[in-house]
Protein backbone atom coordinates (compact mmCIF):
# COMPACT_ATOMS: atom_id res chain seq x y z
CA UNK A 1 0.00 0.00 0.00
CA UNK A 2 1.37 3.48 -0.91
CA UNK A 3 2.83 5.47 1.99
CA UNK A 4 0.59 8.48 1.26
CA UNK A 5 -2.53 6.29 1.65
CA UNK A 6 -1.31 5.04 5.03
CA UNK A 7 -0.48 8.59 6.18
CA UNK A 8 -3.91 9.73 4.94
CA UNK A 9 -5.59 6.95 6.93
CA UNK A 10 -3.75 7.97 10.12
CA UNK A 11 -4.59 11.67 9.65
CA UNK A 12 -8.27 10.95 8.81
CA UNK A 13 -8.64 8.58 11.76
CA UNK A 14 -6.97 10.96 14.20
CA UNK A 15 -9.04 13.97 13.14
CA UNK A 16 -12.29 11.95 13.20
CA UNK A 17 -11.61 10.73 16.73
CA UNK A 18 -10.54 14.20 17.88
CA UNK A 19 -13.82 15.65 16.56
CA UNK A 20 -15.83 12.83 18.16
CA UNK A 21 -14.11 13.56 21.50
CA UNK A 22 -16.35 16.66 21.72
CA UNK A 23 -19.24 14.30 22.49
CA UNK A 24 -17.53 13.66 25.83
CA UNK A 25 -16.74 17.32 26.44
CA UNK A 26 -14.96 20.28 24.87
CA UNK A 27 -11.20 19.65 24.86
CA UNK A 28 -7.95 20.76 23.15
CA UNK A 29 -7.93 17.75 20.78
CA UNK A 30 -11.31 18.82 19.40
CA UNK A 31 -10.13 22.42 19.06
CA UNK A 32 -7.00 21.26 17.20
CA UNK A 33 -9.08 19.27 14.70
CA UNK A 34 -11.65 22.04 14.33
CA UNK A 35 -9.03 24.69 13.62
CA UNK A 36 -7.20 22.38 11.20
CA UNK A 37 -10.47 21.77 9.34
CA UNK A 38 -11.17 25.47 8.97
CA UNK A 39 -7.58 26.25 8.00
CA UNK A 40 -7.28 23.47 5.43
CA UNK A 41 -10.69 24.29 3.89
CA UNK A 42 -9.85 27.97 3.51
CA UNK A 43 -6.33 27.24 2.27
CA UNK A 44 -7.61 24.74 -0.31
CA UNK A 45 -10.29 27.16 -1.52
CA UNK A 46 -7.80 30.03 -1.86
CA UNK A 47 -5.28 27.93 -3.80
CA UNK A 48 -7.93 26.43 -6.14
CA UNK A 49 -9.53 29.82 -6.72
CA UNK A 50 -6.16 31.46 -7.44
CA UNK A 51 -5.14 28.72 -9.86
CA UNK A 52 -8.49 28.53 -11.68
CA UNK A 53 -9.47 32.19 -11.76
CA UNK A 54 -6.26 34.20 -11.79
CA UNK A 55 -4.00 31.78 -13.68
CA UNK A 56 -6.31 29.75 -15.96
CA UNK A 57 -9.14 32.17 -16.70
CA UNK A 58 -7.36 35.54 -16.59
CA UNK A 59 -3.57 35.44 -16.92
CA UNK A 60 -3.18 32.68 -19.53
CA UNK A 61 -5.96 33.84 -21.91
CA UNK A 62 -4.71 37.44 -21.81
CA UNK A 63 -0.96 36.76 -22.05
CA UNK A 64 -0.99 33.65 -24.27
CA UNK A 65 -4.10 34.22 -26.42
CA UNK A 66 -4.35 38.01 -26.38
CA UNK A 67 -7.97 38.01 -25.14
CA UNK A 68 -7.80 41.65 -24.04
CA UNK A 69 -11.60 41.91 -23.59
CA UNK A 70 -11.11 40.00 -20.32
CA UNK A 71 -9.62 43.17 -18.85
CA UNK A 72 -13.19 44.57 -18.56
CA UNK A 73 -14.43 42.00 -15.99
CA UNK A 74 -11.02 42.20 -14.30
CA UNK A 75 -11.44 45.98 -13.95
CA UNK A 76 -14.97 45.55 -12.54
CA UNK A 77 -13.60 42.98 -10.08
CA UNK A 78 -10.77 45.29 -9.02
CA UNK A 79 -13.32 48.05 -8.33
CA UNK A 80 -14.68 45.87 -5.52
CA UNK A 81 -11.32 46.02 -3.74
CA UNK A 82 -11.74 49.78 -3.31
CA UNK A 83 -14.00 48.90 -0.34
CA UNK A 84 -10.78 48.67 1.64
CA UNK A 85 -9.80 52.30 0.83
CA UNK A 86 -12.31 54.52 2.68
CA UNK A 87 -11.87 57.53 0.39
CA UNK A 88 -12.38 55.48 -2.79
CA UNK A 89 -14.96 53.06 -1.39
CA UNK A 90 -17.78 54.68 -3.37
CA UNK A 91 -16.28 53.39 -6.63
CA UNK A 92 -17.09 49.82 -5.55
CA UNK A 93 -20.80 50.67 -5.88
CA UNK A 94 -20.46 50.49 -9.67
CA UNK A 95 -19.20 46.92 -9.44
CA UNK A 96 -21.94 45.96 -6.98
CA UNK A 97 -24.57 47.68 -9.13
CA UNK A 98 -23.39 45.64 -12.12
CA UNK A 99 -23.49 42.37 -10.17
CA UNK A 100 -26.86 43.05 -8.54
CA UNK A 101 -28.34 44.17 -11.86
CA UNK A 102 -27.10 41.19 -13.86
CA UNK A 103 -27.85 38.74 -11.04
CA UNK A 104 -31.41 39.99 -10.54
CA UNK A 105 -32.08 40.12 -14.24
CA UNK A 106 -30.99 36.53 -14.65
CA UNK A 107 -32.54 35.13 -11.49
CA UNK A 108 -35.96 36.81 -11.15
CA UNK A 109 -37.66 35.61 -14.36
CA UNK A 110 -36.19 32.12 -14.09
CA UNK A 111 -37.13 31.78 -10.41
CA UNK A 112 -40.70 32.98 -11.03
CA UNK A 113 -41.04 30.54 -13.92
CA UNK A 114 -39.53 27.56 -12.05
CA UNK A 115 -40.74 27.92 -8.49
CA UNK A 116 -43.98 29.88 -8.75
CA UNK A 117 -45.64 29.30 -12.12
CA UNK A 118 -44.64 25.64 -12.47
CA UNK A 119 -45.62 24.86 -8.88
CA UNK A 120 -49.00 26.63 -9.22
CA UNK A 121 -49.57 24.66 -12.43
CA UNK A 122 -48.88 21.43 -10.52
CA UNK A 123 -51.09 22.41 -7.57
CA UNK A 124 -54.19 23.17 -9.65
CA UNK A 125 -54.35 19.86 -11.49
CA UNK A 126 -57.81 18.59 -12.53
CA UNK A 127 -59.47 16.74 -9.65
CA UNK A 128 -61.03 14.23 -12.02
CA UNK A 129 -59.21 12.44 -14.83
CA UNK A 130 -60.70 11.61 -18.21
CA UNK A 131 -59.56 8.09 -19.13
CA UNK A 132 -60.17 6.87 -22.72
CA UNK A 133 -63.07 4.40 -22.74
CA UNK A 134 -63.76 4.85 -19.03
CA UNK A 135 -65.03 8.41 -19.01
CA UNK A 136 -64.46 10.58 -15.95
CA UNK A 137 -62.56 8.70 -13.23
CA UNK A 138 -61.46 9.39 -9.68
CA UNK A 139 -58.32 7.57 -8.54
CA UNK A 140 -57.96 6.72 -4.87
CA UNK A 141 -54.37 5.42 -4.81
CA UNK A 142 -52.50 7.27 -2.04
CA UNK A 143 -49.15 5.90 -3.23
CA UNK A 144 -49.55 7.44 -6.69
CA UNK A 145 -48.52 11.12 -6.47
CA UNK A 146 -50.73 11.94 -9.47
CA UNK A 147 -53.92 10.33 -8.09
CA UNK A 148 -57.10 12.39 -7.67
CA UNK A 149 -57.05 11.82 -3.91
CA UNK A 150 -53.52 13.20 -3.60
CA UNK A 151 -54.49 16.19 -5.76
CA UNK A 152 -57.27 17.00 -3.29
CA UNK A 153 -54.93 16.54 -0.30
CA UNK A 154 -52.40 18.92 -1.86
CA UNK A 155 -55.09 21.46 -2.69
CA UNK A 156 -56.45 21.34 0.88
CA UNK A 157 -52.90 21.54 2.31
CA UNK A 158 -51.84 24.52 0.19
CA UNK A 159 -55.10 26.43 0.82
CA UNK A 160 -55.16 25.84 4.59
CA UNK A 161 -51.46 26.68 5.09
CA UNK A 162 -51.88 29.88 3.05
CA UNK A 163 -54.92 30.74 5.18
CA UNK A 164 -52.94 30.08 8.38
CA UNK A 165 -50.45 32.77 7.29
CA UNK A 166 -53.27 35.19 6.42
CA UNK A 167 -53.37 37.38 9.52
CA UNK A 168 -55.88 40.03 8.38
CA UNK A 169 -58.79 37.81 9.43
CA UNK A 170 -59.20 36.54 12.98
CA UNK A 171 -58.92 32.72 13.12
CA UNK A 172 -62.31 32.04 14.73
CA UNK A 173 -65.24 29.84 13.78
CA UNK A 174 -64.74 28.06 10.43
CA UNK A 175 -61.50 30.04 9.95
CA UNK A 176 -60.09 28.39 13.07
CA UNK A 177 -60.75 24.95 11.61
CA UNK A 178 -59.00 25.87 8.38
CA UNK A 179 -56.04 27.40 10.25
CA UNK A 180 -55.80 24.29 12.47
CA UNK A 181 -55.79 22.12 9.35
CA UNK A 182 -52.95 24.30 8.02
CA UNK A 183 -51.00 23.75 11.25
CA UNK A 184 -51.46 19.98 10.87
CA UNK A 185 -50.04 20.08 7.34
CA UNK A 186 -47.13 22.22 8.57
CA UNK A 187 -46.41 19.76 11.38
CA UNK A 188 -46.38 16.85 8.94
CA UNK A 189 -43.96 18.79 6.72
CA UNK A 190 -41.70 19.60 9.68
CA UNK A 191 -41.82 15.96 10.77
CA UNK A 192 -40.81 14.75 7.31
CA UNK A 193 -37.98 17.31 7.19
CA UNK A 194 -36.79 16.28 10.67
CA UNK A 195 -36.94 12.59 9.76
CA UNK A 196 -34.80 13.19 6.68
CA UNK A 197 -32.40 15.31 8.74
CA UNK A 198 -31.95 12.48 11.26
CA UNK A 199 -31.34 10.09 8.36
CA UNK A 200 -28.74 12.44 6.90
CA UNK A 201 -26.87 12.91 10.18
CA UNK A 202 -26.86 9.19 10.84
CA UNK A 203 -25.51 8.64 7.32
CA UNK A 204 -22.59 10.92 8.15
CA UNK A 205 -21.91 8.91 11.31
CA UNK A 206 -22.12 5.67 9.34
CA UNK A 207 -19.66 7.08 6.80
CA UNK A 208 -17.09 7.94 9.47
CA UNK A 209 -17.53 4.66 11.34
CA UNK A 210 -17.19 2.70 8.09
CA UNK A 211 -13.82 4.37 7.51
CA UNK A 212 -12.76 3.81 11.13
CA UNK A 213 -13.58 0.10 10.78
CA UNK A 214 -11.63 -0.07 7.51
CA UNK A 215 -8.64 1.57 9.21
CA UNK A 216 -8.44 -1.17 11.84
CA UNK A 217 -6.87 -3.27 9.09
CA UNK A 218 -3.21 -4.24 9.72
CA UNK A 219 -2.25 -2.99 6.23
CA UNK A 220 -2.85 0.57 7.46
CA UNK A 221 -1.05 -0.11 10.77
CA UNK A 222 -4.36 -0.21 12.73
CA UNK A 223 -4.60 3.58 13.20
CA UNK A 224 -8.19 3.35 14.52
CA UNK A 225 -7.16 1.23 17.51
CA UNK A 226 -3.94 3.09 18.32
CA UNK A 227 -5.42 6.54 18.00
CA UNK A 228 -8.61 5.59 19.86
CA UNK A 229 -6.42 4.45 22.77
CA UNK A 230 -4.35 7.61 22.57
CA UNK A 231 -7.43 9.87 22.47
CA UNK A 232 -9.03 8.15 25.48
CA UNK A 233 -5.75 8.30 27.39
CA UNK A 234 -5.35 12.02 26.62
CA UNK A 235 -8.93 12.73 27.77
CA UNK A 236 -8.36 10.79 31.01
CA UNK A 237 -5.08 12.63 31.71
CA UNK A 238 -6.72 16.00 31.02
CA UNK A 239 -9.69 15.15 33.24
CA UNK A 240 -7.33 14.16 36.09
CA UNK A 241 -5.22 17.29 35.69
CA UNK A 242 -8.36 19.40 35.64
CA UNK A 243 -9.71 17.77 38.83
CA UNK A 244 -6.35 18.17 40.66
CA UNK A 245 -6.16 21.94 39.96
CA UNK A 246 -7.40 24.36 42.64
CA UNK A 247 -10.91 25.73 41.81
CA UNK A 248 -9.68 29.25 40.89
CA UNK A 249 -7.23 27.89 38.22
CA UNK A 250 -9.87 25.67 36.52
Amino acid sequence: MPVETIIGAWVATGLTLFIFSFLYKDNPLFKLAENLYVGVSVGYTIVKTYDTVIVQLIWKPIVENGEWALLIPVAIGILMLTRYVPKAAWISRYAFAFIVGVGSGLAIPRTISSFILKQIEDTVRPLLALAPGEGVTFTWNLLNPASSLNTIIILVGVSSVLFYFFFSVEHTGPGRVVARTGIMFLMIAFGAAFGYTVMARMSLLIGRLTDLIEFTDPSYGRPSLWLLGMTILTLVVMARRSSSLPPEEK
Binding site: L23, Y24, S41, Y44, T45, K48, T49, T52, V53, Q56, L57, P61, L106, A107, R110, T111, S113, S114, F115, K118, Q119, E121, D122, P145, A146, A189, A192, A193, Y196, T197, V198, M199, A200, M202, S203, L204, L205, I206, G207, R208, L209, T210, I213
Partner: protein, 281 residues
Protein backbone atom coordinates in the same frame (compact mmCIF):
# COMPACT_ATOMS: atom_id res chain seq x y z
CA UNK B 1 -37.07 11.97 42.26
CA UNK B 2 -39.12 9.47 40.28
CA UNK B 3 -37.72 7.10 37.65
CA UNK B 4 -39.31 9.21 34.87
CA UNK B 5 -37.68 12.39 36.20
CA UNK B 6 -34.32 10.64 36.50
CA UNK B 7 -34.59 9.41 32.90
CA UNK B 8 -35.46 12.91 31.67
CA UNK B 9 -32.25 14.18 33.30
CA UNK B 10 -30.08 11.37 31.92
CA UNK B 11 -26.54 12.33 30.85
CA UNK B 12 -26.74 12.95 27.10
CA UNK B 13 -23.43 11.09 26.65
CA UNK B 14 -25.28 7.86 27.43
CA UNK B 15 -27.59 8.55 24.49
CA UNK B 16 -24.54 9.22 22.28
CA UNK B 17 -23.13 5.85 23.33
CA UNK B 18 -26.42 4.06 22.58
CA UNK B 19 -26.58 5.61 19.09
CA UNK B 20 -22.87 4.84 18.58
CA UNK B 21 -23.36 1.15 19.42
CA UNK B 22 -26.55 0.94 17.32
CA UNK B 23 -24.49 2.18 14.37
CA UNK B 24 -21.32 0.21 15.02
CA UNK B 25 -22.77 -3.25 15.70
CA UNK B 26 -24.72 -3.61 12.40
CA UNK B 27 -21.64 -2.37 10.52
CA UNK B 28 -19.54 -5.10 12.15
CA UNK B 29 -22.21 -7.81 11.93
CA UNK B 30 -24.52 -6.97 8.99
CA UNK B 31 -27.80 -8.88 8.63
CA UNK B 32 -28.68 -7.67 5.12
CA UNK B 33 -32.13 -6.18 5.55
CA UNK B 34 -34.06 -6.00 2.25
CA UNK B 35 -33.92 -2.74 0.25
CA UNK B 36 -37.08 -1.65 -1.57
CA UNK B 37 -36.54 0.42 -4.71
CA UNK B 38 -38.52 3.66 -4.76
CA UNK B 39 -40.05 5.20 -7.91
CA UNK B 40 -37.95 8.35 -7.65
CA UNK B 41 -34.63 6.43 -7.72
CA UNK B 42 -35.93 4.15 -10.46
CA UNK B 43 -36.72 7.30 -12.50
CA UNK B 44 -33.01 8.17 -12.77
CA UNK B 45 -31.99 4.54 -13.39
CA UNK B 46 -34.61 3.95 -16.09
CA UNK B 47 -33.70 7.12 -17.93
CA UNK B 48 -30.00 6.23 -18.06
CA UNK B 49 -30.95 2.69 -19.07
CA UNK B 50 -33.03 4.06 -21.96
CA UNK B 51 -30.18 6.16 -23.40
CA UNK B 52 -28.48 4.74 -26.51
CA UNK B 53 -24.72 4.13 -26.55
CA UNK B 54 -22.70 7.32 -27.10
CA UNK B 55 -25.35 9.62 -25.59
CA UNK B 56 -24.06 12.60 -23.64
CA UNK B 57 -24.45 12.26 -19.87
CA UNK B 58 -23.56 15.25 -17.71
CA UNK B 59 -22.82 14.66 -14.03
CA UNK B 60 -22.44 17.69 -11.80
CA UNK B 61 -20.84 16.79 -8.48
CA UNK B 62 -22.02 19.76 -6.45
CA UNK B 63 -20.83 18.75 -3.00
CA UNK B 64 -17.76 18.83 -0.81
CA UNK B 65 -16.17 16.30 1.59
CA UNK B 66 -18.69 17.22 4.33
CA UNK B 67 -21.40 15.38 2.35
CA UNK B 68 -19.15 12.56 1.16
CA UNK B 69 -20.86 9.68 3.05
CA UNK B 70 -24.16 10.34 1.26
CA UNK B 71 -23.19 11.64 -2.17
CA UNK B 72 -19.95 9.76 -2.86
CA UNK B 73 -21.74 6.37 -3.12
CA UNK B 74 -24.36 7.99 -5.38
CA UNK B 75 -21.68 9.36 -7.72
CA UNK B 76 -19.85 6.00 -7.86
CA UNK B 77 -23.08 4.14 -8.76
CA UNK B 78 -24.12 6.69 -11.40
CA UNK B 79 -20.68 6.67 -13.02
CA UNK B 80 -20.54 2.87 -13.05
CA UNK B 81 -23.96 2.77 -14.69
CA UNK B 82 -23.09 5.43 -17.28
CA UNK B 83 -19.76 3.80 -18.16
CA UNK B 84 -21.38 0.39 -18.40
CA UNK B 85 -23.87 1.84 -20.88
CA UNK B 86 -20.95 3.37 -22.85
CA UNK B 87 -22.30 6.88 -22.46
CA UNK B 88 -20.05 9.88 -23.02
CA UNK B 89 -19.62 11.33 -19.54
CA UNK B 90 -19.05 15.03 -18.91
CA UNK B 91 -18.36 15.70 -15.24
CA UNK B 92 -17.86 18.95 -13.41
CA UNK B 93 -18.37 20.56 -10.02
CA UNK B 94 -19.82 23.91 -9.02
CA UNK B 95 -18.26 23.63 -5.54
CA UNK B 96 -14.61 24.65 -5.37
CA UNK B 97 -14.00 22.68 -2.15
CA UNK B 98 -15.17 19.47 -3.85
CA UNK B 99 -12.87 19.65 -6.88
CA UNK B 100 -10.19 17.24 -5.71
CA UNK B 101 -12.72 14.71 -4.44
CA UNK B 102 -14.71 14.86 -7.68
CA UNK B 103 -11.56 14.24 -9.71
CA UNK B 104 -10.63 11.33 -7.46
CA UNK B 105 -14.03 9.60 -7.76
CA UNK B 106 -14.20 9.97 -11.55
CA UNK B 107 -10.62 8.79 -12.06
CA UNK B 108 -11.19 5.83 -9.74
CA UNK B 109 -14.40 4.61 -11.43
CA UNK B 110 -13.07 5.27 -14.94
CA UNK B 111 -9.96 3.19 -14.20
CA UNK B 112 -12.12 0.42 -12.75
CA UNK B 113 -14.33 0.40 -15.89
CA UNK B 114 -11.38 0.73 -18.32
CA UNK B 115 -12.38 4.17 -19.60
CA UNK B 116 -10.00 6.78 -20.99
CA UNK B 117 -9.94 10.49 -20.12
CA UNK B 118 -10.71 12.71 -23.11
CA UNK B 119 -12.09 9.82 -25.18
CA UNK B 120 -14.80 8.27 -22.98
CA UNK B 121 -15.16 10.93 -20.33
CA UNK B 122 -13.96 14.38 -19.33
CA UNK B 123 -13.71 16.08 -15.97
CA UNK B 124 -14.06 19.80 -16.54
CA UNK B 125 -13.19 20.74 -12.96
CA UNK B 126 -14.54 23.85 -11.28
CA UNK B 127 -15.27 27.27 -12.69
CA UNK B 128 -16.26 30.34 -10.65
CA UNK B 129 -19.74 31.83 -10.78
CA UNK B 130 -22.08 29.09 -9.58
CA UNK B 131 -25.29 29.53 -11.52
CA UNK B 132 -23.53 31.77 -14.06
CA UNK B 133 -21.44 28.74 -15.08
CA UNK B 134 -24.63 26.86 -15.98
CA UNK B 135 -25.82 29.78 -18.13
CA UNK B 136 -22.37 30.00 -19.76
CA UNK B 137 -22.43 26.28 -20.52
CA UNK B 138 -25.88 26.70 -22.03
CA UNK B 139 -24.51 29.28 -24.44
CA UNK B 140 -21.04 27.94 -25.11
CA UNK B 141 -19.55 24.99 -23.26
CA UNK B 142 -16.04 25.73 -24.54
CA UNK B 143 -16.29 29.33 -23.37
CA UNK B 144 -17.25 28.22 -19.87
CA UNK B 145 -14.52 25.56 -19.75
CA UNK B 146 -11.74 26.33 -22.26
CA UNK B 147 -9.66 23.53 -20.73
CA UNK B 148 -10.47 20.42 -18.71
CA UNK B 149 -9.18 19.70 -15.21
CA UNK B 150 -5.88 18.40 -16.61
CA UNK B 151 -5.36 21.54 -18.70
CA UNK B 152 -6.19 19.94 -22.09
CA UNK B 153 -8.14 22.25 -24.45
CA UNK B 154 -11.76 21.05 -24.43
CA UNK B 155 -12.27 21.78 -28.16
CA UNK B 156 -9.78 19.06 -29.03
CA UNK B 157 -11.37 16.33 -26.89
CA UNK B 158 -13.07 13.48 -28.83
CA UNK B 159 -15.60 12.94 -26.01
CA UNK B 160 -17.01 16.45 -26.63
CA UNK B 161 -17.44 16.03 -30.40
CA UNK B 162 -20.81 17.45 -31.38
CA UNK B 163 -21.36 18.97 -27.96
CA UNK B 164 -21.44 22.76 -28.22
CA UNK B 165 -23.70 23.62 -25.30
CA UNK B 166 -26.13 22.18 -22.76
CA UNK B 167 -28.69 21.77 -25.55
CA UNK B 168 -26.59 18.83 -26.80
CA UNK B 169 -26.71 17.02 -23.45
CA UNK B 170 -29.08 14.03 -23.41
CA UNK B 171 -29.32 13.68 -19.66
CA UNK B 172 -27.92 15.61 -16.73
CA UNK B 173 -27.80 14.67 -13.07
CA UNK B 174 -26.78 17.06 -10.32
CA UNK B 175 -25.66 15.56 -7.04
CA UNK B 176 -26.16 18.54 -4.79
CA UNK B 177 -25.50 19.21 -1.14
CA UNK B 178 -26.84 22.77 -1.24
CA UNK B 179 -26.75 25.77 -3.51
CA UNK B 180 -25.73 25.66 -6.33
CA UNK B 181 -27.14 22.20 -6.84
CA UNK B 182 -30.21 20.47 -8.23
CA UNK B 183 -32.45 23.55 -8.06
CA UNK B 184 -29.88 25.74 -9.82
CA UNK B 185 -29.48 23.15 -12.59
CA UNK B 186 -33.24 23.19 -13.08
CA UNK B 187 -33.74 26.96 -12.93
CA UNK B 188 -30.77 28.01 -15.05
CA UNK B 189 -30.24 24.81 -17.02
CA UNK B 190 -33.17 22.58 -17.84
CA UNK B 191 -35.85 25.25 -17.81
CA UNK B 192 -33.93 27.28 -20.37
CA UNK B 193 -31.94 24.78 -22.43
CA UNK B 194 -34.48 21.93 -22.39
CA UNK B 195 -32.50 18.81 -21.48
CA UNK B 196 -33.75 16.05 -19.18
CA UNK B 197 -32.64 16.43 -15.56
CA UNK B 198 -32.40 14.10 -12.60
CA UNK B 199 -31.19 14.84 -9.10
CA UNK B 200 -29.31 13.37 -6.19
CA UNK B 201 -29.09 15.07 -2.84
CA UNK B 202 -28.37 14.74 0.86
CA UNK B 203 -31.17 13.54 3.12
CA UNK B 204 -31.59 17.04 4.56
CA UNK B 205 -32.40 18.45 1.13
CA UNK B 206 -34.69 15.69 -0.13
CA UNK B 207 -38.04 16.96 1.26
CA UNK B 208 -37.43 20.33 -0.40
CA UNK B 209 -36.90 18.70 -3.80
CA UNK B 210 -39.99 16.48 -3.83
CA UNK B 211 -42.20 19.29 -5.22
CA UNK B 212 -39.85 19.45 -8.25
CA UNK B 213 -40.18 15.70 -8.68
CA UNK B 214 -43.95 15.63 -8.48
CA UNK B 215 -44.33 18.46 -10.99
CA UNK B 216 -42.01 16.67 -13.42
CA UNK B 217 -39.35 19.36 -13.24
CA UNK B 218 -36.87 16.59 -12.44
CA UNK B 219 -37.51 13.03 -13.58
CA UNK B 220 -35.94 11.24 -10.60
CA UNK B 221 -34.36 11.85 -7.23
CA UNK B 222 -31.75 9.90 -5.31
CA UNK B 223 -32.11 10.98 -1.69
CA UNK B 224 -29.31 10.45 0.80
CA UNK B 225 -27.56 7.19 1.67
CA UNK B 226 -30.85 5.33 1.33
CA UNK B 227 -31.18 6.48 -2.31
CA UNK B 228 -27.56 5.51 -2.97
CA UNK B 229 -28.23 2.02 -1.57
CA UNK B 230 -31.25 1.66 -3.86
CA UNK B 231 -29.15 2.68 -6.87
CA UNK B 232 -26.38 0.26 -5.90
CA UNK B 233 -29.00 -2.49 -5.75
CA UNK B 234 -30.41 -1.50 -9.16
CA UNK B 235 -27.04 -1.69 -10.91
CA UNK B 236 -26.18 -4.89 -9.04
CA UNK B 237 -22.93 -3.56 -7.55
CA UNK B 238 -23.45 -3.29 -3.82
CA UNK B 239 -21.07 -0.91 -2.08
CA UNK B 240 -20.75 1.29 0.98
CA UNK B 241 -24.35 2.54 0.83
CA UNK B 242 -25.90 -0.93 0.98
CA UNK B 243 -23.44 -1.84 3.74
CA UNK B 244 -24.66 1.12 5.76
CA UNK B 245 -28.39 0.36 5.48
CA UNK B 246 -28.53 -2.06 8.43
CA UNK B 247 -26.89 0.56 10.63
CA UNK B 248 -29.28 3.19 9.30
CA UNK B 249 -32.30 1.04 10.18
CA UNK B 250 -30.90 0.23 13.64
CA UNK B 251 -30.24 3.89 14.49
CA UNK B 252 -33.68 4.92 13.23
CA UNK B 253 -35.25 2.26 15.43
CA UNK B 254 -33.19 3.46 18.40
CA UNK B 255 -34.25 7.06 17.81
CA UNK B 256 -37.94 6.09 17.51
CA UNK B 257 -37.70 4.17 20.78
CA UNK B 258 -35.95 7.14 22.45
CA UNK B 259 -38.61 9.59 21.20
CA UNK B 260 -41.44 7.35 22.50
CA UNK B 261 -39.68 6.84 25.85
CA UNK B 262 -39.01 10.56 26.24
CA UNK B 263 -42.69 11.33 25.63
CA UNK B 264 -43.82 8.66 28.08
CA UNK B 265 -41.45 9.94 30.77
CA UNK B 266 -42.42 13.55 30.06
CA UNK B 267 -46.18 12.91 30.36
CA UNK B 268 -45.69 10.68 33.39
CA UNK B 269 -43.64 13.39 35.10
CA UNK B 270 -46.18 16.10 34.15
CA UNK B 271 -49.13 14.07 35.46
CA UNK B 272 -47.32 13.52 38.75
CA UNK B 273 -46.57 17.25 39.10
CA UNK B 274 -50.24 18.06 38.42
CA UNK B 275 -51.44 15.49 40.94
CA UNK B 276 -49.05 16.92 43.54
CA UNK B 277 -50.34 20.44 42.80
CA UNK B 278 -53.97 19.31 43.21
CA UNK B 279 -53.28 17.47 46.50
CA UNK B 280 -51.43 20.52 47.91
CA UNK B 281 -54.33 22.79 46.91
Amino acid sequence: MTFAERMLRIDRRIIFLVIGFCTLIPLLYPVGLPIKISQEVRGVYDHIESLPEGSVFLLSLDFDPASKPELHPQSISLLRHAFRKNLRVIALTLWVSGTGMADQVITQVAREMGKESGKDYVFLGWSPGGTAVIINMGQDLYGAFPADYNGKPTKALPVLQGVASLRDVNYAVSLGAGNPGVEAWYVFGKDKYKFELGGGCTGVMAPGLYPLLRSGQINGLIGGLRGAAEYESLIGQKGKAVAGMDAQSATHLAIIVLVIMCNLFYFSSRNRTRQQGQSEA
